[in-house]
Subunit: 180 residues, 2 copies
């Protein structure tokens, strides 16, 4: 499950699949909260909706967009706060939480890290064999995060497998962290 | 109850009192989470501790420091995320959540908005008639937030009372928001 965090629009998307096999759409949506509600009320709505998704879909992992403070400061604070809600919802259930940067997601989905929203949406539509591009862009971005996570997770699994094999070999491999 | 949000140290402080009467300390502490834990684990620890405080102390309101992106970007993201956890913990119980800026807190406690941490700590110690300054500074700041909230809340109550009187008077007062 992917979460494109935001207060005004928080994209949610879930996909099923594994690296090297076709992916399929499980669910896609967006949580909207009114800009004139107070921050507490907005975060509670976002939390309730994420909880509902986690209850119903029981995802294996949650991928959340990593937030940077490079954009509009006011927006970024809200984005960081919405991301915290998504992260804590997943983590308190013991679900693995992965943070992917926007350029990691774009690179995974389109092949280049500076792709625009439309290119990401087009590739998401194609990869999931959808009839139309998911709208709004936040919903497509959440699916892109989920797809990116399946694929990167696959790479990490292969790395972990390779390391496990290396460790069981006669000459010990040097210790390293697998989740770098 | 006041929360000075942070991932490495999250200050918590609760006071009892009302404007114009002496304040007393209810509880003070700090939640620490290891910098090398992942963000999910850290936020879950902060959430659990804030929940424990809310369960035990049943505060009337929660005051959280308003986060700005003017400082170190990396720290600010963590601060925004910890603040989101505090806000959502309070809001989902229906508790009022107030956000006060650092300068509002400093002005309320010391009389000037650019006071340093030591001046704030000294005034908190004096106002609560403590034997020693609460340590670390995050704990003292959380108490300062709680005190600021009691006092500003008092101002807001008086404003609301005045407005209610004005509304019940023959000439209607213009509509306005009380929580500006």
């Amino acid at each position: 499950m992917g979460v494109d965090p935001g207060l005004t629009r928080c994209g949610l998307g879930a996909v099923e699949g594994r690296p090297g096999a076709p992916l399929s759409l499980v669910s896609v949506g967006v949580v909207r909260t009114p800009a004139d509600d107070d921050i507490g009320a907005r975060l509670v709505v976002i939390e309730a909706e994420i909880e509902r998704w986690l209850d119903e879909l029981k995802p294996d992992a949650v991928a959340v967009e990593r937030v940077f403070a490079q954009h509009n400061v006011r927006t970024v604070m809200g984005t960081a706060q919405a991301s915290a809600v998504a992260i804590v919802c997943a983590a308190r259930r013991g679900l693995p939480v992965a943070l992917h940067t926007p350029s990691e997601v774009k690179a995974a989905i389109t092949g280049h890290g500076n792709a625009d929203k439309k290119q990401v949406g087009t590739m998401v539509t194609r990869l999931l064999r959808l009839d139309a591009m998911p709208k709004p862009a936040d919903a497509a971005d959440a699916l892109a995060l989920a797809i990116c996570h399946v694929w990167r997770g696959g790479v990490q699994h292969r790395l972990a497998d390779a390391l496990a094999r290396a460790r069981s070999a006669p000459r010990p491999a040097p210790a390293r962290r697998e989740d770098a």
